[in-house]
């Protein structure tokens, strides 16, 4: 059964004012337990609005969201429990750190869950371990850390609630290549060892293509695609049309295809592109 499902989900900002704006419209998606879903779309496509519905932060204007088959707004208690079961980590989460030590900051979520001291301790240590925060760092003030470390502490703050579904909004924004890789590996590792469902929101296919099993492409508040990574890339031209970036190598193959050559475009890793181009060159007799 789907762990999260939306039915005709619609959300309108500032209803009844001149600033009325439909953020998302008639979204019907269903996400299975243990899946790794990438949500991509450009700014204003509604992707952030959508994920804020999944943990009950925003209440839909119409439609329903089901967690484990049950309407998340069916009761106040259930909404609160969904908050903890669907962990949402915002963009630039390091700007939300507030405690005097890394340990206390990570413990904020588990504390709100009403866990015992002992359980809190276990949760914090496990979360710190997942994001590669060393024990001696836990005593430090989060404000003395480097940018990349702060980001990891903030993510640990969400992981520490040990949610069944972990949602991360642009977890690698603003980081250098190494920082991006570290975070991506960390998320992958978390999913593999806990079996949790993971949803990553991003601007670009490049970020999600490596690890996601399914991709949800949002455009103008609606679902453009919700399918496997390969299938989405086979529509690479459409991605470009709706203002999304494709990896450079996909771009090269698209250029060649546009020139009338018979190459595949559903490719996004250097290795795959290499074998496809080698095949193509052999076929054309230039190799």
């Amino acid at each position: 059964m789907a762990i999260i499902e939306t039915q005709n989900l619609t959300y309108v900002y500032s209803e009844g004012t001149p600033f009325r704006k439909v953020a998302i419209e008639d979204i019907n998606i269903s996400i299975e337990e243990g899946e790794f879903v990438g949500i991509i779309g450009h700014t204003g496509s509604g992707k952030s609005t959508l994920v804020q519905h999944l943990n009950g932060l925003l209440k839909p204007t119409s439609g329903t969201i089901l967690y484990d088959g049950k309407d998340i707004h069916s009761s106040k208690e259930f909404t609160r429990s969904v908050r903890f079961n669907v962990g949402l980590c915002f963009q630039y989460p390091e700007y939300q750190l507030f405690e005097s030590s890394v340990y206390k900051d990570i413990a904020f979520g588990p504390q709100n869950m009403g866990l015992s001291e002992e359980e809190i301790n276990e949760h914090v240590l496990r979360a710190a371990d997942f994001v590669g925060i060393k024990k001696e760092m836990l005593k430090k003030s989060p404000f003395d850390l480097s940018g990349g470390e702060k980001r990891r502490v903030a993510i640990a703050g969400v992981i520490a609630m040990e949610p069944k579904v972990l949602i991360l909004d642009e977890p690698t924004a603003g980081l250098d290549p190494k920082g991006r890789d570290t975070i991506a590996d960390m998320i992958d590792n978390y999913r593999k060892s806990t079996g949790s469902t993971v949803i990553v929101v991003s601007h670009s296919m490049e970020d999600v293509a490596k690890s996601a099993s399914k991709v949800l492409v949002m455009n103008k508040g609606q679902v453009e695609f919700f399918t496997g990574v390969k299938e989405v890339f086979s529509n690479a031209q459409r991605l470009v049309e709706i203002g999304l970036n494709v990896p450079q190598i996909t771009g090269i193959l698209m250029d060649l295809k546009a020139k009338g050559y018979n190459v595949r475009t559903d490719i996004y890793s250097v290795d795959e592109a290499k074998s496809e181009l080698l095949r193509f060159f052999k076929e054309r007799g230039v190799l």
Binding site: T17, Q52, L57, R80, Y95, F98
Partner: protein, 285 residues
């Protein structure tokens, strides 16, 4: 919800009201507010409201927005009206129920205060709706520049106001974001007693302050990069020069004020006015 507040916002446009000298607008608003409190009868008040109405129409600001500006004071208006109606026992009673009675005097005063407060709010909203924050602070800086003599650094105060106005929307967005993020970690901002609620604000305000500090550093660097060194020797993009329309505006307002003064003195005092109202009520009854 925080985002729905419109007071202090600016809606760019090119109407006569937008193009008035901001110093003049400031002075006009100031005089208007004083005059509205000096009005003693409906005739005078009517003239003031008419003046405001014409200004609003000239500004081409939608009436919907004007309506929105009144929203925040609605409760205050309601409470004062209810108090007036309950406690004012001048004039003749319209409804009587034991100790409780509603009199013409009460209704009259309630109506009078309501119109006054609404006019006051609309007038000041019109000022901010049609004047960019920078121009407004510029105008304040220029109007108060004589204070330099008493060693008050008017430029610095005006610059601080400009920056404050510029950053209010940014910080409101930021509070929104931090609140959502902490709620996602289970922070409970709505329930609990006063102490608990106060405590719940720590995760919101600590990051807000820390982020504001770093913003302030960035901004200071950026301002230095653009050769900012205080008010000395600065020139302005927008020259302030009184034009014909400014003189027309002030003469119109003065005319209205004179009218207010005359009606206040000569025609009817509020008590008399309510007496007229009374006789009308008696006649109807």
């Amino acid at each position: 919800m925080i985002k729905d507040i419109t007071i202090g916002q600016f809606f760019p446009g090119n109407s006569v009201v937008h193009r008035l000298d901001p110093r003049m607008k400031l002075v006009l608003t100031f005089i208007y507010i004083i005059a509205i409190f000096l009005c003693k009868n409906f005739l005078a008040l009517g003239a003031m409201v008419l003046f405001l109405l014409i200004s609003v129409l000239l500004s081409k600001i939608s009436l919907k927005l004007i309506g929105k500006s009144i929203k925040p004071v609605f409760i205050i208006v309601l409470i004062t009206s209810v108090l007036q109606i309950i406690y004012n026992d001048k004039g003749i009673a319209l409804i009587e129920y034991g100790k409780f009675h509603i009199t013409t005097g009460g209704v009259f005063t309630a109506l009078f205060t309501t119109v006054r407060i609404v006019a006051l709010v609309v007038a000041s909203s019109l000022l901010t709706y049609t004047t960019s924050p920078t121009l407004l602070t510029d105008a304040i800086e220029r109007l108060f520049s004589p204070l330099k003599i008493v060693k008050i650094n008017v430029h610095s105060i005006a610059m601080m106001m400009t920056i404050a106005l510029r950053f209010i929307p940014t910080l409101i967005d930021e509070v929104d974001k931090i609140m959502s993020a902490q709620k996602s970690r289970g922070a409970d901002l709505e329930n609990g007693n006063l102490v608990q609620r106060g405590k719940a604000l720590i995760p919101i305000f600590v990051p807000l302050f820390i982020n504001s500090f770093s913003r302030a550093y960035d901004l200071a660097f950026a301002m230095e990069c653009r050769c900012y060194k205080g008010g000395e020797g600065r020139t302005r993009l927008k020259e302030m020069k009184l034009a014909l329309k400014d003189y027309i505006a002030i003469f119109m307002l003065i005319a209205v004020c004179v009218f207010v003064a005359i009606t206040n003195k000569l025609i009817v005092a509020p008590e008399e006015y309510s007496n007229i109202l009374d006789s009308f009520v008696r006649f109807v009854l």
